[in-house]
């Protein structure tokens, strides 16, 4: 009975997800084709300027761009459902292949940024909550408010200026040196972009952890926990943090696209060969097929993160789980 209910619940959510992704790609398909620009430039480069109108018409026809947008859309959708997302005009390869070759770089950058943001914000948040209203808490909170107002692209430029140009400690662009590619080289190239991604998001989440924790610290049950004779540390970690964690974990799940969005900007500034630079290029050069697949992927990531957040919250908070509400519990 309860398993059926759960399956039904997740089935509904899956359906919502598919519908949302469908609406997203539809919107992006039409909007991207309304934007000004010439997709032929992506495919033929400078040669477009020397083409006769006939040649242009032929070229457009070859890429299927002469048909009405709705015809193009139906054709794209039909192929996409069979796993064929078309070729990238710019790279003249399967869009999926182009993305696959870049995805690793973004996963490394985003993953490192995510893990660091996650752990550092937890650390800072706990530290601030522990020393509530102490000097450390006050300084960190004010610093955080200021730091979270700094836009990522600007911070990237400042970091490049300071660490790459003035101090010459770290490379300013790319994922590895030409001809290089050792682990140290990769890490050196990662250091600045990851720092920017972390610095851009850290404070917001640290602040969330701090405030969630303080909300718990002020709850009545803390008085009972203290009156048992528990130490401050045990009350903070076993009671407050444990109760604050589900909502923090679900927040982190929602934050995946947020941090991913940050990496897109940072990748562009650091010319880091990942999905962010790819998205930027594909939009700029009207590389339609590539753009569509990137949208599809990003959209799915956003929505799956949202679902994951909900799932985490339900599993970790006994009050929210349907099975428990019925009063049934495994031994």
């Amino acid at each position: 009975m309860s398993i059926w209910n759960m399956a039904l619940g997740w089935g509904k959510r899956l359906l919502t997800l598919l519908l949302s992704v469908f609406l997203l790609v539809t919107a992006v398909f039409y909007v991207s084709r309304l934007a000004p620009g010439d997709p032929l430039v992506a495919y033929y480069g400078d040669r477009v300027e020397r083409m006769t109108p006939d040649e242009r018409a032929w070229a457009k026809d070859r890429l299927g761009l002469n048909d009405p947008i709705t015809v193009q859309y139906v054709r794209w959708l039909g192929r996409a459902l069979h796993g064929d997302f078309g070729i990238s005009y710019q790279y003249k390869m399967d869009a999926a292949e182009v993305i696959a070759s870049r995805a690793g770089n973004t996963l490394i950058l985003g993953g490192a940024g995510f893990v660091l943001t996650f752990s550092l914000s937890l650390l800072l948040g706990v530290l601030c909550a522990w020393h509530e209203d102490g000097p450390l808490d006050r300084v960190l909170c004010k610093l955080g408010t200021a730091a979270s107002c700094v836009p990522e692209f600007w911070l990237s430029l400042v970091f490049i200026l300071v660490f790459s140009i003035t101090l010459r400690w770290l490379p300013s662009s790319g994922a590895y040196s030409i001809g290089g590619g050792g682990l140290g080289d990769r890490l050196a190239h990662l250091a600045l972009p990851v720092s920017v991604v972390v610095a851009g998001h850290l404070w917001y989440y640290a602040y969330m952890v701090r405030n969630r924790l303080l909300e718990e610290v002020r709850a009545d049950y803390v008085l009972l926990a203290k009156s048992k004779g528990l130490t401050k540390g045990r009350v903070m970690f076993r009671h407050c943090l444990r109760n604050a964690l589900p909502s923090y974990l679900s927040l982190m799940a929602i934050s995946v696209p947020h941090i991913l969005g940050g990496t897109y900007i940072v990748e562009t500034v650091f010319s880091y060969p990942g999905l962010g630079t790819l998205s930027y290029e594909s939009t700029r050069y009207q590389d339609y097929n590539l753009l569509m697949l990137l949208c599809l992927l990003s959209g799915t990531v956003v929505m799956v993160s949202g679902m994951a957040a909900q799932f985490i919250n339900q599993r970790l908070d006994p009050r929210l789980s349907a099975r428990d509400a019925a009063g049934v519990r495994e031994p």
Binding site: D133, A219, D220, Y221, L223, L224, A225, K226, S227, K228, G229, L230, T231, K232, R234, R238, H239, R242, N243, D317, P318, R319, D324, G327, R329, P331
Partner: protein, 338 residues
Amino acid sequence: MPELLEVKHLSVSFFTHTGEVQAVRDVSFSLKAGEVLALVGESGCGKSVLCKSIMKLLPQTAKIKSGSILVNGADITHYRERDMHKLRGRLFSMVFQDPMTSLNPAMSIGEQIGEAVRVHRPRLSREALRARVLELMALVGIDRPEERMGLYPHHFSGGMRQRAVLAIALAGDPAILFADEPTTALDVTIQAQILDLLRDVQHKLGTATVFVTHDLGVVARVADRVAVMYAGKIVEIGTAEEIFYDPRHPYTWGLLRALPALSKGRDTLYAIPGMPPTLVNPPRGDAFACRNEYALAIDYQEEPPMFQVTDTHYAATWLLDPRAPEVTPPSGGGIHAG
């Protein structure tokens, strides 16, 4: 019998942005082992704050301004958090007013009781811990404890939660139990059950208890001694018999007259006129003077000291001064007079 707990001239204030709130003003009392002391007074008169300040459970804005707290003769007034957590649970523990919020909602009942057991006996084996948790749950009248130890607070009713809170409070075999209005948030029928339970447990374990309440009816059922608080001060303290049959303070008269049982045959319940003063700027003289129909001129000038009535009975009212005029307590002021 030596004093288990001695509070001497304790003053506690909250420092807020509206100013200093003098929640507890110059309070002295003592508690013997096994004794039940009731702290009675209107809402906001400092009863809870007094208990929480002894256990040092007040927020950081509250400060002990003066006075001392002695436990078995040892001064714990200036103990810090790291010293206090060793005393809490074992020396004293507390049952709180609202059982709906005082349990951790995300931790099972058994786990919360077990934590209270283990904190003072860290080397207890799993089986012994389980046995102790079941024993405590049985002690506070939770039926079928094996089934229920895995349940969460939201599976429990208010009365059951309060039983669980009591089990937690008793887990460390405390010498003193503070019961901070433990029945106020419960249904009337459940109130009586919890009250009986508290009394039974107290008889069984002999735990000295400070019972905070605004309900004199409750006091009559449980207390050996009664302290009446008004505006942060103890205005009268004595044995239960003395307070009920020979009250001396006009405020105690008012409280007793306000009992519904003593308003029988009258159209309306008696109420003490006026409101308690704010404790931000307590008035000069006796804080009760402006609500007191027996107030003397000096009540507006100077705070009355504690006058001794008997060895155990004290009251802070100028009416007990030898120079004061004779006043007969109102009908209902002492139980026999009604």
